[in-house]
């Protein structure tokens, strides 16, 4: 409010000064015109253009008169009329004679009081005396219209803010605007001099309009400021949040990196084409490559073991099922060694639920495998040794048993020979000795017969058993061995195999023996064709129903010359073999009233076939 008032006052002071400046300049120009008119004597030719320019130049002037010394009009613009416009009772003669006299007496420009004229206007005059060669030569009277002053000298921007009016004691003489309510509080008036005579210049602020606009402005400014502040605050908050999030992210990232780096387990991310997207240091150590060597490699060949390429492809296929138990793969190290790894794979899924790759944890099981392999070999050796020890013991006791009668026979005969040499042999003694020799020979025979009896004594325990189960059990025992030797065991069982009477343990032992022989026979076979096929079918002969089982390998086969020897005891082609396996197998099968024989497989390999009667028979 105070600011507004200060502005109002300064505006008014400026306006008053501006108008006064105009009036004084007009005054000077009229004086100049008077001087010019006195010197040129060309009267109208000088007066008309000069006065015209004064009138037309936004000066607030409405009329200029040139009076001679007697007061008669010599020239006038725009009209010579002087009295037709005056209104009211106290209207003096126009131009005002009093002012004229005063101006003449004072010899300087003098302003008249204001008087009302027609059309609600008011005017005042300025009388400028003219001197020709030091004597009074006439008077120039210029008339100001209050309306014109307001129209022409008050600038628009001031008029917009204030209602500007000129007043005297009698009331308002003229005002710039008639519209809008006026703030009576916010007004200011100032003396208007020249022309003086109690004239006042007054300004009143347009209350409502001004206040509304101003309030609107302030409001807008405040709103804007608040918005800016809020924005800043929000921005700051956002920045802080971002900073915290970024820090958390960085921490998380560092944490994850440390985790990945410290892991002993290899981590491997692959895209759907199998290219490596990421590999952690543990994996790089495992395969001996740098991360940049293997990441985004077009081809995977250097990494996957070339020998097991098909297996690897199969593994890639198997990845899609993500078995929870993981599976084993072999990788080629940079130095050419093979690393055996356990692979556990999970799909990588982006935010939209689309899979874009696989993440695998890779566990180096080479050492574990090696240890297991050593343990297996040691166990094998131990078993072999145990077998040898058992054999040794048996052989030793067998030898002792046989040695006794043989040694006795030898001693008797040597004794006889000694006596014959010495010619001291009685016939009775000889008979005695020979009888004893015969007895000992029988004894030796009995020992051998006892061993044979011992072997025969192990009668199979008959019980109904499911051959399919037995085959699967026997094949299952070789799972690890087969994987190690890259042998694929295929079991083809006919539906609904009937049960047979037999000794489960012995029959399983037969199959174990045959499978073991088959696997061992394929040692030199090419990896991809190492297939061992076990098949079981029922024969269709109704009179003699039989179960036929065949164990078929793709191995080296059996030499023609060995064909008729393979079932003989102590015949073997293996360095560690005892040569009893097939012999025992045949014994077992025959004790089950079945048959076991061998056929060469067309295209290399062997087929061992065995038949077992389905209906149990009594022993012949």
């Amino acid at each position: 409010m105070e600011d507004q008032r200060t502005t109002l006052i300064s505006d008014m002071l400026w306006l008053e000064q501006e108008i006064r400046f105009h009036l004084i300049r007009n005054e000077e120009r009229i004086q100049q015109l008077a001087i010019d008119l006195a010197h040129t004597h060309k009267d109208l030719k000088t007066f008309t253009p000069n006065a015209g320019s004064l009138l037309s130049n936004q000066t607030g002037l409405s009329q200029i008169l040139w009076l001679d010394t007697s007061g008669a009009v010599r020239a006038a613009l725009p009209t010579p009329t002087t009295d037709a416009v005056a209104v009211g009772e106290a209207t003096p003669a126009i131009p005002m004679s009093e002012t004229l006299r005063l101006a003449r007496a004072l010899s300087k420009p003098t302003y008249s009081p204001t008087y009302a004229i027609v059309h609600g206007d008011a005017q005042f005059e300025v009388h400028v005396p003219q001197f020709v060669n030091g004597r009074y030569g006439g008077m120039i009277v210029a008339t100001y219209s209050i309306r014109r002053i307001l129209d022409e000298l008050v600038p628009w921007w001031l008029a917009e803010r204030y209602r500007i009016s000129i007043a005297d004691d009698g009331g308002v003489l003229g005002k710039k605007s008639l519209i809008a309510a006026i703030n009576s509080q916010m007004s200011y008036q100032i003396a208007f001099d020249p022309p003086g005579h109690g004239l006042l210049l007054r300004a009143e602020a347009y209350e409502l309009k001004t206040s509304f606009a101003r309030n609107l402005l302030i409001l807008t400014a405040v709103v804007l400021a608040v918005t800016v502040l809020w924005s800043l605050w929000a921005l700051r908050r956002h920045m802080q949040w971002r900073l915290v999030a970024e820090q958390a992210l960085r921490k998380e990232y560092a944490f994850r990196t440390a985790m990945e780096d410290s892991l002993a387990t290899g981590l491997l991310a692959r895209d759907l084409d199998g290219r490596i997207m990421y590999a952690n240091p543990a994996f790089c150590r495992m395969v001996g490559y740098n991360a940049e060597d293997i990441v985004s490699q077009e081809s995977l060949i250097p990494l996957w073991n070339p020998a097991g390429n098909n297996i690897c492809d199969e593994n890639m296929q198997r990845d899609t099922t993500t078995s929870p138990a993981g599976h084993e793969i072999s990788l080629s190290r940079k130095d050419g060694h093979t690393v055996y790894c356990m692979l556990h794979t999970a799909p990588l899924i982006d935010g939209n639920g689309n899979q874009f790759g696989w993440l695998s944890s890779v566990l180096d099981v080479t050492e574990t495998k090696r240890i297991a392999e050593i343990a297996r070999q040691q166990e094998e050796k131990l078993q072999f040794t145990a077998r040898l020890v058992a054999m040794g013991e048996m052989a030793s006791s067998l030898a002792h048993e046989l040695n006794q009668p043989l040694a006795a026979i030898s001693s008797y005969s040597t004794g006889c020979l000694n006596r014959i040499e010495q010619a001291g042999l009685q016939q009775a003694d000889l008979v005695d000795a020979l009888t004893k020799i015969g007895k000992q020979a029988h004894r030796a025979g009995a020992v051998i017969r006892r061993i044979y009896e011992f072997v025969r004594r192990s009668e199979p325990r008959q019980a109904p058993c499911n051959m399919g189960e037995i085959i699967n059990d026997a094949a299952g025992l070789f799972e690890g061995e087969a994987r190690k030797r890259n042998v694929e065991i295929k079991v083809k069982l006919a539906d609904a195999l009937p049960e047979i009477q037999g000794d489960r343990v012995l029959l399983e032992q037969v199959l174990v023996n045959l499978i073991k022989n088959g696997i061992e026979a394929m040692q030199t076979t090419q990896t991809q064709s190492r297939i061992l096929e076990i098949a079981a079918v029922c024969s269709t002969d109704a009179n003699d129903p039989q179960l036929c089982i065949s164990v078929c390998d793709c191995g080296s086969g059996i030499a023609e010359s060995d064909m008729d020897k393979i079932f003989l005891p102590f015949f073997t082609t293996k360095s560690e073999g005892m040569g009893m396996g097939l012999n025992i197998c045949r014994s077992v099968i025959e004790s089950h009233y079945g048959r076991l024989w061998h056929e060469p497989k067309p295209g290399g390999g062997s087929i061992f076939k065995l038949t077992l009667p389905i209906h149990s028979r009594t022993r012949p």
Binding site: Q404, L406, A407, G415
Partner: protein, 202 residues
């Protein structure tokens, strides 16, 4: 002293009988024992000859019997008969002082040869033992003083020197010397030295 015999210890009757038949064909007198226990029960210090011992026997084994006999200071030579796979045991027995071992089946006459050799060795050892016992009996007859004098004589000193050293009369030394020679049954100092050297070598 009982007659020297080849003692056959074997659990196998036929074996015992066959060995008996074999040894008799070479005129080697023998006795048979059906087990280690029976032999140990029948054993006495005066038993002489040699032992033919089967290593493998039910009950007490041949090796155990051998250990028992050694504990009892039985010095009879022992020939082990071993079966297949008993060689290390037989070698160990040999180191402990067994006379020999033969692996079954053996060459019968070489067994008899070894038995005869063992019997000879045993009889030699026994006669040596008898002589040693005799010398020991003679030495036991000497008085302590005579023992002292004998040490000096064995050292090869003259009577005069011995008398000086022992501070006795020359005549007394001569009497001691005569008594020693008489008791030991020798004629000279050289004979005495040889007699005692034989004992010391044992």
């Amino acid at each position: 002293m009982s007659e020297p015999l080849a003692h056959i210890v074997d659990d196998d009757e036929a074996m015992r009988d066959a060995l008996n038949w074999l040894l008799r064909s070479r005129q080697v007198k023998n006795a048979t024992w059906p087990s280690a226990e029976s032999f140990l029960a029948g054993w006495h210090e005066n038993l002489s000859g040699c032992l033919i011992l089967d290593i493998r026997m039910p009950g007490m084994s041949g090796l155990e019997l051998f250990d028992q006999l050694q504990e009892r200071n039985c010095l009879m030579p022992v020939i082990f008969l071993t079966g297949h796979g008993d060689i290390p045991q037989a070698v160990a027995a040999l180191k402990k002082g067994a006379y020999d071992f033969l692996e079954k089946p053996f060459d019968d006459n070489s067994l008899v040869d070894r038995v005869i050799a063992a019997l000879t060795a045993d009889s030699a050892r026994r006669s040596q033992q008898i002589r040693n016992d005799e010398i020991a009996a003679r030495l036991a007859q000497l008085s302590p003083r005579e023992h002292q004098v004998m040490e000096h004589i064995l050292a090869g000193k003259y009577n005069k020197v011995i008398a000086d050293e022992m501070q006795i009369a020359m005549r007394t030394v001569e009497v001691h010397r005569a008594r020693i020679f008489e008791k030991m049954g020798v004629r000279s100092a050289v004979d005495l030295a040889q007699l005692l050297a034989a004992i010391k070598n044992q």
